[in-house]
Amino acid sequence: MKAKLSALHREADHSKPCIFSFHIRKRFEAAKASFELNVSADIRRGVTIVFGPSGAGKTTLLECIAGLLTPNSGRIGVADRILFDSSSRVSVDVRHRRIGYVFQDLALFPHLTVEKNVGYGIRGLAVGDRERKIADVLESFRIANLRHRKPGEISGGERQRVALARSLVTDPCVLLLDEPLAALDATTKAKLIDDLRCWNEAHGIPILYVTHSREEVFALGDRVLMLDAGKIIAEGTPDAVMRR
């Protein structure tokens, strides 16, 4: 797995320190309640867990970073690229941010085969390169045998692998995972956590991994941001944060 993933991402440039930083303020007003997300963090390579209860603002944070929501103010940058800066009115379109996003419900295209789902984000590549990348990533995530099946014809764990492969084949600068393992059984979850760890050792991009599972925090996290009511209330290593 490791060798294959290293080969898959051989084009990635790991020489530069990849720092991803954000300061986001997003306010929602409703008739009877309002919610404000106000968070700042610097994220380094490796898996950073965003941990917190439902309604803490975890998905809102990911959607702001991906460009699916526009923050009221703040700044989002990856290495030397500014993706959003309210002071200079910069807001890179979601299509050009190069941020991988695995949605909570995976959002696989139900009418496309596994192969077409995975290849959807790399349509601009030359046919040969595209086919090679698809073949590599399908093999890496052990789903090559499913390439002609549709998402409705495969298991939950396999769908999860397809969603990860679809995001990673585009060589994203940052990967956002919104409770991707929530619906899986313990064995499948353990295998996928192992695969994700291997992948990240090979690729080494910042990953923001949203979860409310303590088990996943310890299994995956290099660092934890604890979010509550739209604010980061603690950050540090899994041991230090989860002991609170």
Binding site: R95, L108, H111, Y120
Partner: protein, 224 residues
């Protein structure tokens, strides 16, 4: 049985359904995804033919397409003949009359596509047009087929609008429903009955097709 009227009606319905497929697509897309606060006014205008008496709509179309209107004048200058009391006039009037029967199923099926799929497509770098063509449209096939079939069926049975802007010219504007009316006026009930049964059978068949689509009996087949 007046086969000429039946053939003319089928030609009219097919042309209207094909034109509406192209016209209703952008309108339904805009209605589904626009955040314009006054969008409801446009929705109401599109839906007007559902509630407006066909004679009222026909009257306005007669005025709007007549040689004294700017549109009618332009048409006459370009083609040398009037738009009213012609087959082309019938097509234009029928498109307007059947517009909501295409736009509403289209818009409903676009709105039913999971917004997460559209977001996923955007995060994978796809443009709005590509997302629409490759994600939204294939997932809305049953709604789009329903819209086209309903437009076809609605045009088959229209009477008031056709009579107002087309009159009753055999081979040019006399549709099946006008033929039935003529037969009844002439007390030729047996001929009217045969034509009515044919129209009933076609309309029933088309509606059964639409309901089968909605129950996903045919949608499963269409996806393969």
């Amino acid at each position: 049985m007046d086969w000429q009227s039946l053939w003319l009606t089928i030609r009219l319905a097919a042309l209207v359904a094909a034109s509406l497929f192209l016209i209703a697509l952008p309108i339904a897309y805009w209605i589904t995804y626009s955040r314009w606060r006054w969008k409801f006014l446009a929705e109401a205008v599109v839906a007007l033919p559902i509630v407006l008496p066909p004679t009222v709509l026909g009257f306005y179309l007669l005025v709007a397409l007549g040689p004294r209107s700017p549109l009618g004048h332009l048409w006459q200058a370009l083609t040398g003949h009037s738009l009213v009391f012609t087959f082309q006039g019938l097509v234009v009037g029928s498109i307007i009359y059947s517009l909501p029967f295409a736009v509403q199923p289209f818009a409903a099926s676009f709105a039913a596509v999971d917004s997460r799929l559209i977001a996923a497509s955007a995060t994978l770098g796809a443009s709005k047009l590509r997302t629409f063509l490759e994600i939204v449209m294939p997932l809305s096939v049953s709604g789009m087929v329903a819209g086209v079939v309903l437009s076809f069926a609605h045009t088959l049975g229209e009477f008031g609008v056709v009579l107002m802007i087309g009159g009753n010219i055999p081979g040019v504007t006399r549709t099946v429903s006008i033929d039935i009316y003529d037969q009844v006026q002439a007390l030729n009930y047996s001929s009217a009955s045969i034509t009515a049964i044919v129209l009933l059978a076609i309309s029933f068949g088309l509606l059964a097709f639409v309901y089968a689509l909605n129950r996903k009996v045919l949608a499963v087949w269409l996806w393969k």
